[in-house]
Symmetry: C2
């Protein structure tokens, strides 16, 4: 298996955490977004969206979309599960993951920011406010959801799940863009527990071979 990723990509960061949690060996190949390698024919043949991550299986098939990749890993490598067994609990974990992966992350994606500053000509200050706004709005809802009894050291109980896999990269981004995180004590408690694990720490952008 080969993971095509980029050190700073949040979606790649998620897959790296999942691979680490499950102890799956995988060759990591950097696709340099700054050099435009994701828009080259080679990468577009892997993923017509031109996004990372892409996971090339030994069969030659290439999987895309971080959550779909992690669900695949969960099904093929069921040890050290990242989803609970009960259907309603699985739904809770997936919904927390999707709150981040559908409703926060894509709106703050680089291609969206580029459209805002390019086509729409907004200022750097307006761009930063945009970025922070969607994190603050999403985190307010996430904080409320994490205040229920199903939350433990992690988003769901005391072991990491798909929800934490999405939470950690989003907190990383929030810190990078100076979002005030003091209103989100439940989120930050989970983040501290996650960062204490090698699986999460080793997946951080600065610890990747293509980091610069």
């Amino acid at each position: 298996m080969q993971l095509f990723d980029y050190f700073r990509s949040s979606a790649s960061y998620r897959v790296r955490i999942a691979l680490n949690l499950k102890g799956i060996d995988c060759e990591q190949i950097g696709v340099n977004l700054l050099k435009g390698e994701h828009k080259g024919d080679e990468h577009l043949s892997r993923n017509p969206q031109g996004f990372v991550p892409a996971l090339a299986l030994d069969s030659g098939e290439v999987l895309t979309q971080s959550l779909a990749i992690i669900e695949y890993l969960e099904e093929v490598y069921p040890d050290r599960p990242v989803l609970p067994t009960d259907a309603a609990e699985r739904a809770r974990v997936r919904s927390l993951a999707q709150l981040i992966a559908c409703d926060i992350h894509p709106v703050d994606n680089l291609r969206v920011l580029k459209y805002l500053t390019g086509e729409l000509g907004i200022s750097e200050e307006q761009k930063t406010r945009w970025y922070q706004h969607w994190i603050e709005e999403g985190f307010a809802a996430l904080e409320s959801r994490l205040s229920d009894a199903a939350t433990g050291q992690f988003c769901h109980g005391d072991t990491p799940t798909l929800a934490d896999i999405c939470l950690a990269p989003q907190v990383f981004n929030a810190q990078r863009f100076n979002v005030d995180l003091t209103p989100f004590p439940h989120i930050m408690a989970v983040y501290q527990h996650a960062e204490a694990l090698d699986a999460f720490r080793l997946a951080r952008p600065e610890n990747q071979p293509d980091a610069n």
Copy 2:
């Protein structure tokens, strides 16, 4: 079970299709977004995000996020499956669904459009271009992905899956905003097959009790 939805919500539309495909009886309760009912305490207690759909189980638990809800329905009502059995095929279907549900739909969401016209003061014309741009970009990648041999009458083979459940509402939105769909023959062929089924047709916004 009770589905809290809104006739025009695309995410609700997805869950309605899934319920119809599986033949699951479910009471439908409209949450009027125009009247701000989604921001009221009653709905926020169901979903702190204030979004629809929300599925209230007979146990009292409330599930949110359309894809998490549909995965739950798939696990609890496995008849008439909306995911294949093979793990790599499931990943293909989920990635097609997420291409739409993560990378197109949230960027064109009403709350985002409101921020653009409110906080950023963009024109109606710029808003329409924004809306069309993200559909066109996403559909170009989706069209390319659907050109492979795994596509049949539907996105994956000849029976509807989670991918089609996401595709139909997105095409509906594209038509509503006058996106030129002629460059996307694979997408439109799938859409025609989907619309031929009662499960899809009866889930359309105009066929809901709260439609106006």
